[in-house]
């Protein structure tokens, strides 16, 4: 048999990896998400050692590594510490479909939060000329009956007009 010529045609397959998942919130994130859903309140937990707030709360202080089980309400207003305006459409890993752009995200230092920790969420303003660090912003909640105990119970943060 003559030597086999290697193929010029290069085969590839496209596929979508798609499967259902279930996540337990755990007690701390569960308490935080339920407060969003039932009371429209944003809860931080406070480190008993360094006194810094974490929002959303985590089981231990990320710096001191001690259990942090004291909760305090923060926000819903705060100060914009950083932001991103996204023009690049990437796949949303929840659906596999490209996201709509532009959208913006914000790092907000919520009022009452201690130690400079910021809270990451969507920002309802994609015009970069209107955005700067230090702006006052506030959380806008989903209406009653539509909140599910998820991040999206806060729809977004919006700029407080005239706020300084």
């Amino acid at each position: 048999m003559p030597p086999k010529k290697l193929s010029d045609e290069l085969v590839h397959r496209e596929h979508m990896a798609r499967f259902p998942q279930r996540w337990s919130t755990g007690p701390v994130m569960g308490k935080f998400l339920q407060a969003l859903r039932d009371e429209k309140r944003i809860l931080a937990n406070v480190c008993p050692r360094c006194g810094r707030s974490q929002v959303p709360p985590r089981e231990v202080c990320a710096v001191c590594r001690v259990e942090a089980m004291q909760f305090e309400e923060v926000g819903p207003a705060g100060t914009l510490r950083s932001f991103d305006v996204v023009f690049y459409a990437s796949p949303d890993p929840v659906t596999g479909q490209s996201r709509e752009v532009p959208y913006a995200t914000a790092y907000v230092e919520l009022d009452g939060s201690k130690g400079g920790a910021t809270f990451w969420h969507e920002l309802h303003e994609t015009d970069m000329s209107k955005l700067r660090r230090g702006l006052r912003v506030r959380a806008v909640f989903e209406e009653d009956g539509k909140r599910t105990g998820a991040i999206t119970d806060i729809k977004y943060f919006e700029i407080i007009e005239g706020g300084t």
């Binding site: 290069l10 991103d84 305006v85 660090r133």
Partner: protein, 403 residues
């Protein structure tokens, strides 16, 4: 300083040509190219390899247990093989693991491999999928962020910051042009800066396509050997692993980790600066710019690369901007950074953080070819980046360390 039972040297390196597309090979075949080059470079044969450490990014290629499949090409058949996956730092963690396997006395000769076929998945989607599903998955855009740009702009003004970032990018591209293995080579020049600032497509905030790292297919391999084996492996001069350090931030939320700001509104100490403080102090390096000869930095974007010069070299104020503006970081400059072209040129992510010490080792050996820094290199720094801004910082030396 962590104690080593015995000194460890890098005795062989190999890498593929990096490209946006490698339809002609599957994953084991891609990895095989780098492995064979490294074994040949060391003058060894497959039977000399005692163990293999390999790594890549999770979720990038959509294949399960790549370490096992890749035994078809990676040289691990019948040998201890360990897969490491620490996000963007993977390649550097592979480096550290291989060094430790030899330093501990467990194995004499260890092969370290990093690879990625980004053509097989969606990089930004994959990174986003790694974020906390209850929170950050709704918000994250992979590793794309304009926040680093925002920091530099707020501190130094829009025009100076934009020009410095683009100047950094042009220098990297000029280096990549000298490196035949580099993926993106645009032949950029400084007179194009105004045009690029206007026309390169925006990705996130002030981060434009031209600033961001590429999505590459490629692999790299390094061979580590116990110091007492080096005399019998004298094909090329050994490069000694002097030290390395890994610094993490909390792995919970965002690219900014715990984004906390000090009283001046600046992000608190970065893992880059923290890693440099630890590594340089315990190796008695007071003036890194003078005592280190070259730096291969994992620069995921021109903005981060620009900003991290200050942190890694423990500089203050605008010294890092001045270094870029003066051209100090060029291949013939006072402190060359990324003579390979770095990560904005070439980014097969699972390999990227291994390619940094690999390129640094080539510089020390004098084997970097057309992108060799034109003066003797005795000490080289290399960094890895990943996750919520983690850092691995590695120090390589031409001289055998005393540790």
């Amino acid at each position: 300083m962590p104690r080593k039972t015995r000194p460890v040297a890098i005795v062989g390196v190999g890498q593929t040509r990096h490209s946006s597309h490698r339809e002609d090979v599957n994953q084991p075949e891609l990895v095989h190219e780098a492995v064979r080059l490294a074994i040949d470079d060391a003058g060894l044969s497959l039977s000399d390899i005692d163990a293999v450490v390999t790594g890549n990014m999770e979720m990038f290629e959509g294949t399960h247990q790549p370490d096992m499949w890749q035994v078809l090409g990676n040289g691990a058949w019948g040998k201890p093989c360990l897969r490491v996956s620490t996000g963007g730092t993977t390649g550097s963690t592979v480096f550290c693991a291989a060094d430790q396997l030899v330093a501990s006395g467990l194995h004499d000769v260890v092969l370290a491999i990093g690879f990625e076929k980004q053509q097989e998945g969606h990089t930004t989607g994959g990174i986003t999928a790694m974020a906390d599903p209850l929170w950050a998955r709704h918000l994250q855009t992979g590793a794309l962020t304009g926040m680093a740009a925002l920091e530099v702009i707020d501190e130094f003004g829009l025009d100076r910051a934009r020009r410095a970032a683009m100047r950094y990018r042009v220098i990297m591209d000029q280096h990549a042009a000298k490196n035949p293995n580099a993926h993106r080579r645009f032949n950029l020049s400084f007179d194009m800066i105004d045009d690029l600032m206007q026309k390169s497509p925006p990705l996130v905030g002030e981060l434009r396509l031209i600033h961001m790292c590429s999505q590459s297919d490629g692999a790299g391999a390094m061979i580590f050997a116990a110091g007492d084996r080096v005399a019998s492996l004298n094909r090329r001069p050994p490069v000694w692993v002097q030290d390395h350090v890994t610094v993490h931030r909390e792995e919970t939320l965002a690219l900014a980790g715990v984004a906390t700001y000090d009283a001046q509104g600046r992000l608190e100490t970065t893992t880059q600066r923290r890693a440099a403080e630890i590594l340089l102090a315990r190796n008695n390096i007071d003036k890194p710019v003078e005592e280190i000869d070259v730096f291969e930095m994992y620069d995921p974007s021109a903005w981060w690369g620009l900003s991290w010069i200050r942190d890694f070299l423990l500089l203050e104020g605008d010294e890092h901007l001045q270094m870029v503006e003066r051209g100090d970081i060029g291949i013939e400059g006072r402190f060359p950074i990324n003579p390979s072209g770095g990560v904005t040129a070439t980014n097969p992510i699972g390999a990227t953080a291994l390619l940094r010490p690999l390129e640094a080792a080539l510089q020390i050996r004098g084997d970097a070819g057309t992108h060799q820094v034109p003066r003797p290199i005795r000490k080289a720094l290399a960094s890895g980046f990943g996750g919520t801004l983690w850092t691995v910082l590695m120090l390589l030396s031409k001289d055998q360390p005393n540790n």
